[in-house]
């Protein structure tokens, strides 16, 4: 146990920014721990990793971890991460987002990141509520459940985050929960090792804003519900839709190979450098002017 704590401390900005803003009983600390353990097991250097987030309780995570950290605007973490990755492809990038962040305001960036397949990992902490702003219903609040803006029960229907990622073309999609800590550690590691865009949905508990409104008696009871209300992918395969009703499926939901964006882009650029007759018109314009001719020549030499 003490070794585990040691690992976690190595990667936390423990002298500066702790304790966290998170409530007692919140699942986010577990997610942060799982992420850190996955990073430690992979032996990633602290300088070689960026953690990018949006807004909300999950958005606060990067401030606590000792990497290159970027706390962006609401919903936009993946778009910032995309630019960062394009500028520094060797930098490993993890984005952490809540459910409102990832699939409400950031829904467009989420599906397009899934489709685009840039090599980075998105951890979506799904606690089915807007916690930081006080418990308003989110796109993953189940139908009929309460939020401060759904005082009579949610009229809308919820997103299946992992299913959305699969549908949008993500090449690695997994789901676990803050109860299944060891499984979560391993899934985050597998996601990071995957070449391409990977999504890990983490079912999490917000007792303060969701639990109390929905008469879930304690944070522990919420964890207990994750244990009892979920099945593995293998178990699910043997169950009927009726048996699966009200349960969520854990494990690797999608894993496939697809050429990664930057790899394809750079291979194309190298091919262009080697074939001067391609895009001759543009080349001619660039060659006309010293400064751009220089950049053209310098890159051709390098390629």
């Amino acid at each position: 146990m003490s070794q585990v704590m040691e690992t976690v401390r190595t990667y936390l900005r423990s002298n500066k920014k702790l304790p966290t803003v998170w409530c007692a009983g919140c699942g986010l600390g577990i997610v942060m721990g799982a992420m850190i353990r996955a990073i430690a097991r992979m032996g990633v250097e602290k300088n070689d990793l960026a953690v990018v987030s949006g807004i909300g309780c999950t958005g606060r995570l990067p401030a606590y971890v000792d990497f290159n950290t970027l706390h962006t605007t609401h919903g936009r973490a993946l778009a910032f991460a995309t630019g960062l990755k394009l500028a520094k492809p060797k930098l490993r990038v993890i984005t952490v987002m809540g459910d409102g962040d990832a699939v409400a305001i950031g829904g467009n960036h989420f599906i397009h990141s899934c489709r685009r397949n840039i090599d980075m990992t998105a951890i979506v902490v799904n606690n089915a509520i807007y916690g930081m702003t006080g418990g308003q219903y989110s796109p993953t609040t189940p139908h009929g459940r309460r939020g401060t803006t759904a005082p009579y029960g949610n009229v809308e229907h919820d997103f299946d985050v992992a299913g959305l990622a699969v549908g949008a073309g993500a090449t690695f999609v997994a789901r676990s929960s803050v109860y299944h800590v060891r499984e979560l550690d391993k899934l985050i590691e597998r996601a990071m090792r995957h070449k391409g865009f990977s999504v890990v949905e983490v079912v999490a508990n917000c007792y303060t804003s969701y639990g109390r409104l929905n008469k879930l008696t304690s944070p522990v009871a919420m964890l207990q519900a994750m244990k009892e209300g979920s099945v593995t992918v293998a178990e699910a395969a043997k169950m009927s839709p009726a048996e699966l009703e009200g349960k969520f499926v854990r494990g690797v939901i999608q894993e496939r190979e697809l050429p990664e964006f930057i790899t394809v882009y750079d291979a194309l650029a190298e091919k262009l450098a080697a074939t001067p007759e391609v895009v001759a018109g543009v080349r001619r314009t660039l060659e006309t002017y010293d400064e751009t001719a220089y950049r053209l020549k310098a890159y051709r030499k390098k390629a």
Partner: protein, 384 residues
Amino acid sequence: MSVQIGRRKVIFLQGNEACALGALAAGVDLFAGYPITPSSEIAEFLSESLPLVGGRFIQMEDEIASMAAVIGASLGGAKAMTATSGPGFSLMQENIGFACIAEVPCVIVNVQRAGPSTGLPTQPAQMDVMQTRWGTHGDHSIIALSPTTVLECFTMTIECVSLAERYRTPVVLLMDEVVAHMRENASLLGPADCGMASRPRPAAGLADYCPFGASGDGVPPLAAFGGEYRFHVTGLTHDPHGFPTMVPREVDDNIRRIVSKVESRVDELASYEEFMLEDADVLLVAYGSTSRVAKASVRELRRAGVRAGLLRPRTIWPFSQKRLRELAPRLRLVVVPEMNLGQLVLEVERALCGAVPVRHVGRVDGNLFDPGEITAFALREAGR
């Protein structure tokens, strides 16, 4: 296509192409954008040329994402830019504010078209002057340049990159549809001739790197992600190390510094073109493609016996009052033609504080002014 004249090369170019070429000359290595008329040629040109020079191009899902990607790339150490028009510029405001508070160098080209909303996508306007200054929420500052010629589309793009890097701030190139789609000869200068500056970088081996500290000139050095220093960047008000703060003193320091690093340099950043101003007592103040027309009006007014002259601010924001105030004592009338219903004229009025009558003439039908209408307006206002 090109002619060598001394150190310069003269090329026949379109404004948008010149802008893209300027970006390449300035060393821009990342462009993220979303298609929108009348700016799309910039993205098209850079999608073709960036992979040829070792840069990268990406078409994002919208302008919000484009602006975000530009900021992300800049934090990774790239010189990054985007290009758009009014509707896209509106969407970018959110993350332009982030770039302001997080002090991330980036360039936004806004090829103005008539609005509001979808407006007239293919026709010119100057309706985003105030949005450029105040489009994003909260106190902040911004730098914006306005080109009038194809050559300036080129040189000002270089200047914008330079200013963004030097002052760690978003910089807007405020073009308009006419200057963007017009073709004319441009004798290209090099970045050195445009005064290319670079991003302040921290020294190596610092025990305590402060990415948001108040250094001597108000622009703290910025390291790149993935280098020697690990640091935190947030859109929350932050302390000198970049961590969120609610300490009133630190909050106050943060906001005042990001504003004053630009506003304290207003006269240093200001640049003008003056045309027939020597003896002028009727002053036209115009920028962008309107100033090309205003020059013709100045000539017409002179022929009609009015001593007219033109002051063309190249720097729109921060707006410098200095030259206007110097000229004020000998002026009897100031006319401000704009392709809007009165935006930069408000700054002109503020500068002159009622010392000289200031009259605005606006055109919002999607067409460029005709010299005659500015001339006729000025003659009427001058009591002729």
